[in-house]
Symmetry: C2
Subunit: 123 residues, 2 copies
DNA sequence: AAAACGAGGTTACAGGTGTAAACTATATAT
DNA sequence: ATATATAGTTTACACCTGTAACCTCGTTTT
C-alpha cells in the first residue's frame, strides 16, 4: 500500500474517479469521465497502466471487475505537493506563498500575518 | 516574451541557473550544474531544447554565446503553480492548504486564521 | 437470431524526456 | 606544435505519455 510513483496527469484523473467511488466498474469509470473527451479505449488503457503500476487493484464481481485505488488520496496529494515544491520552490512553502501573495489583493498587513503563520507551519 | 509551455523538469533546472545569472556562458552553466550528475553533453542538449522552445535566447560574445532566459521567473513559477493546483487540488489553494496543515504543528486557532487569509487571498 | 454494445486483452504509434555519444572547429595548456 | 579541453551541432535511443484501434467473447437490444 505504498506510494506508487510516476502517475501521469491523465492517470491521475482516473484515480480521482476511484477515490470518489472505489469499486467502480469500468463502465462507471467511463461515465464518470464522460466529459474528458477520451475514447473508451483510452480509458481502458489508463486503467490498465494504473493497474500495472500497482496503483489500482481489482476484485471480481458478477458484473465484471471492480477497480479500487491502491494508493491513499491524501498521501498521494502530499507526495505530489512535495515534489512540486521541491521542483519549483526549492521545497519552500514560504517561497510559494510569497509568490502567490504577489498577485493577490491581500493588504501588506495581511500578507505579513499570512507569512508568519506559514513560517510557523514549516517549523 | 511569453509563457513558453512544456518546460521539463530537467530543463527547469537549467533555467534556474540562468535566472540566477543571466548571460552565462555554457561553461558557467556547466559548473553551476556540476552536482547535477549530468554529462556536459546532456547539459548542452537541455540548453538546445530550451532555445528551440524559445525559453532562452543568446547573444554572441568574444567568449562564446551568452544565454539568457526568455521567460520571467515569477511568471513561470506562477504558471507552474496554477497547473499544479488545477491538476491536484482542483485549482484550490484552500484545498492545498487544508492538506498541508494536516501534518503541521499549527494550533487549531492558527490554522483557522491561516485559512481565513487564504480565502481572502483567493476571492 | 442478427446486430450492436461492452469488457478484457493486445498492439500501435507519434511526440516528449532523460540521457548521452560523435564530429568539428577552435582555444588553451604543456 | 601538439595534446587536450571546450563550444557548437547533429544524431541516437529507450522509456513514458496521450491517444487510440483491433480482436474476441459475452450480453443486450431490436
Amino acid at each position: 500500500m505504498e506510494s506508487v510513483k510516476n502517475i501521469s496527469e491523465s492517470e491521475w484523473k482516473v484515480l480521482e474517479v476511484l477515490w470518489e467511488k472505489p469499486g467502480s466498474l469500468i463502465g462507471e469509470i467511463r461515465t464518470a469521465l464522460a466529459d474528458s473527451g477520451w475514447s473508451y479505449s483510452t480509458i481502458k488503457t489508463l486503467v490498465l497502466r494504473l493497474t500495472q503500476k500497482g496503483a489500482l487493484y481489482t476484485k471480481e464481481s458478477p458484473h465484471g471487475k471492480m477497480y479500487y485505488p491502491a494508493v491513499d488520496e491524501d498521501k498521494s496529494r502530499r507526495d505530489e505537493t512535495k515534489h512540486f515544491l521541491d521542483r519549483i520552490y526549492n521545497g519552500s512553502v514560504r517561497m510559494l506563498f510569497s509568490n502567490l501573495v504577489k498577485d493577490s489583493k491581500l493588504s501588506d498587513k495581511e500578507a505579513e500575518e499570512l507569512m508568519e503563520l506559514i513560517d510557523k507551519m514549516e517549523d
